[in-house]
Amino acid sequence: MVSRARDKRLAQLNQGAAPHAQVRHAGTTRFGPTLAVERFRFGNGLEVLLCEDHSAPVVAYHTWYRVGSRHERPGKTGLAHLFEHLMFNETEKLGAGEFDRKLEEAGAESNAATWLDWTQYTIAIPKQQLPLVIRLEAERMSHLVLRDPQVKSEKEVVANERRYRVEDDVEGSVSETLWAMAFQKHAYQWPTIGWMADIEAFSTEDCQEFYRTFYAPNNASIVVVGDVTENALLSRVQEAYGHLPPSTLPLEDVQPEPPQLEERRTVLSKPTATEKIAIGYHTPAIGDFDHPALSLLSEVLFGGRASRMHQSLVRQLEIASEVRVFVGPFRDPGLTEIFASARGSHTAEELLAAIDQEIARVCDEPISSDEIERARARTELSLIAGLETADGKASTIGFYDTVLGRPAAAFERLEDLSRVTASDLRRVARRYLVPRQRSVVMVRAQNGDKKEAAE
């Protein structure tokens, strides 16, 4: 019945519509126990993913462009991120600052993010304001004005963001060094924010070319979650985006990273009180069969204060003030990044030895079923807690659809995790957490704390 009613509504929408504006239903995916994601595809390639959720009178409207720093090239790093900034500037119909002013007056919360594989624009609005947001997002997808003064000013802002996140931040600069050392061919080697020299050198023409190439309906998905109905949404999206032509997307030119055959290591000196260490192991892409097992293994080792690493490094040995992990959720193989900060006069070498010892244990000794269950429970809580708001749901749907093409993959991962065994954990530990496949950055403290050093 639902299908027949939808067919009828879509037929009405498509009646007399130009080919680019024709819309069709492209599938339904269950999203958790009570919700569903409906996928629609327009003639110009634009995808719309709708998850109706009438629990609050708000709507999350996220636009995901399938362009990130992986689509850049040496000498032009940071362009995707700079462009994310420029998207809040002038359009043909809106003067400088008008885009944000209109959103603010509508009570919207808006933000954006760029990463290795994608760029995301998020807007959450009271439901009555949805038509305005659709118009504004369609306007900046196709009618952005890029002139020298805006580009110059935004380059300065991004340079300041880089100083904040990298130059004056020990962890930021360590992480950047680690990725640059670990990747020698693949585009993941450069930071999403870009090298400072590249940021400073961008021209307005660089930005215009990037915009024409990547900002088009056939390179975007719109994720809408909240108190909205299908028909009301589709008719407005059709009106706002239906006239936009698709672009000719370039063939992606990313080189696979060759296997790393020996450990790489470097030492930095920073104005910090204690030594630090970052270790990056080459690990598989998020869509790989081993990724869920590796995530679960990371929970066992690093998740919370009952984890093996915390118990060993922070509590028993008392050589670290903190230790944590990040498992790369990327389309291509990335890094599992471990970071630890030493306590007092303890050294990065001591941290590495203690981390190695715990990794050796999971390679040699079976992990108990209790530990595995605990890691699963932590993962489940994390997923559910991220779905409380419309914005959280939209981010989860958009992320998994952009990197895996499956909007409900978060729930599929929970099922995958339930099938992971102790044998899987041992296998992935032995396969991926091996010294020859890692890069190590050690940080020496320029001003070691005298009191602690005396202990």
Binding site: G97, G107, S153, N160, R305, R315, S321, A375, R378, I384
Partner: protein, 435 residues
């Protein structure tokens, strides 16, 4: 708001049921916080809360965390000057077992000597580690100078000189004095019905001891006199962290909402004056905001930017000019209308989940907000006139009485920064690793 407020023998319980997700949030908070730290024991309230979290029911830290994790739960302790809150979240099917653990933590902490010694050493390491965070350094020194002589100047985390002196006796004494059923507020939200929440709250309260109600003996701070600069000297800074501010207001002040609207025009949004002038026109700082937070007493009003080192002096000069213009000329009718629309409409995101709605009601109790503050919030915003907004700025904010806190490399920019502040009456340079 759909929050139920229930009186349990003088104790307040807040509940909002929502089956939207199979999660339950539980908060148990004290109506006092780090202001209870005895002199010379700064950080004791925080250390006590963390020790409770690690020794509840006589269990070890690892036993407690293992059990909480296994239930699909999380339990954190947050400490501020005015409150200590234990915030728990758990997958609904495991709520009762999770509450048993919370009761152990809140009512039956073991405070073992071994764990306290570990915790003291961990805290010392964290205090040293915190020096890596330039923004936190700026906030710490700003507060210290802003509230000099007032308890708000005291550090919630403590100092390297105070933390090692904290004994098990200190911790037990503070716990027994503060963690009584007379001094707690509770809330439940999410996938739990009212009867279950009430029974759970009663179980929690019954387990706690009894004692006198803590009295708030803190007076309102008076704020700084004249203009002063505290420069936190740290090597190799390519960028600065800058806080400029004076005394703010409390929601009990009749003009608080009017000032809140006026502050939105100055630096509360992405198109506010500060962002427009500092970021959009000049590209000097990634962010440029002003804020007017509330606590149980008047807190600080402040401007926050982080320009590169060579732009710091010019940025401070510009901020002072913008502040002076805001104070002298006020805001315009158009700006007022825009700010009111923004605040009214975006309020939807302060109340879009049961947990957020309960959180606002909770704040109203903890921070002694006037009756109906959030229930009438939209009406109060709507009633703010241009005259009231501009009068609130004139009456509350004095640009001649400010603290400027800067984190940067003194040898490179301190003199220039000092020269950028007209009428500076005091200035000092402190080392970034000073306790």
């Amino acid at each position: 708001m759909n929050v139920q407020s229930i009186d349990l023998g003088g104790r307040r319980l807040l509940i909002e049921s929502s089956p939207a997700l199979p999660l339950v949030h539980v908060t148990v908070a004290l109506t006092s916080g780090a202001l209870e730290d005895p002199a010379g024991k700064e950080g004791l309230t925080r250390l006590t809360a963390r020790a409770m979290r690690r020794t509840g029911g006589g269990l070890t830290q690892q036993q407690l965390d293992t059990r909480i994790d296994s239930l699909g739960g999380s339990l954190g302790a947050d400490v501020s000057h005015s409150t200590v809150s234990f915030n728990g979240t758990v997958i609904a099917r495991n709520l009762d077992a999770f509450l048993d653990l919370m009761i152990d933590v809140l009512a039956r902490p073991g405070f073992s000597e071994e764990e306290l010694a570990l915790l003291r050493r961990e805290t010392e390491a964290e205090l040293i580690e915190a020096r890596d965070n330039d923004r936190a350094l700026a906030r710490r020194w700003f507060s210290r100078k802003m509230f000099a002589g007032h308890p708000y100047a005291r550090s919630v985390s403590g100092h390297l000189t105070t933390v090692p002196t904290m004994t098990a006796g200190d911790v037990r004494a503070l716990y027994q004095r503060t963690w009584t059923r007379e001094n707690v507020v509770l809330s439940f939200s999410g996938d739990i019905d009212a009867a279950h929440a009430r029974a759970s709250a009663e179980r929690l309260l019954e387990a706690l001891g009894s004692g006198p109600r803590l009295a708030d003996q803190v007076t309102d701070p008076t704020g700084p006199r004249g203009r002063s600069l505290v420069f936190v000297d740290k090597p190799e800074r390519t960028q600065t962290q800058i806080l400029i501010g004076g005394l703010g207001s409390h929601p009990r002040d009749p003009d608080h909402i009017a000032l809140h609207v006026a502050n939105t025009v100055l630096g509360g949004t992405f198109t506010a004056r500060l962002m427009k002038e500092v970021r959009s026109k000049r590209g000097w700082s990634y962010g440029a905001y002003s804020s007017l937070p509330y606590d149980r007493h008047r807190q600080a009003f402040s401007l926050w930017t982080f320009p590169k080192a060579s732009d710091a002096a010019a940025c401070i000069q510009l901020e002072l000019e913008l502040l002076a213009a805001w104070c002298e000329k006020g805001i315009t009718q158009r700006e007022l209308a825009g700010a009111k629309r923004y605040l009214t409409r975006s309020h939807a995101f302060a109340i879009d989940t049961a947990t957020k709605r309960v959180g606002l009601a909770f704040d109203a109790l903890i921070y002694d907000l006037p009756p109906g503050y959030y229930e009438g919030y939209l009406d109060h915003i709507g009633e703010v006139s241009l005259e009231r907004a501009n009068a609130a700025i004139r009456d509350r904010i004095d640009p001649e009485h400010l603290v400027v806190a800067v984190v940067g490399t003194a040898a490179e920019i301190e003199a220039e920064v000092r020269a950028s502040i007209p009428g500076l009456s005091a200035h000092e340079i402190v080392a970034h690793d000073a306790d």
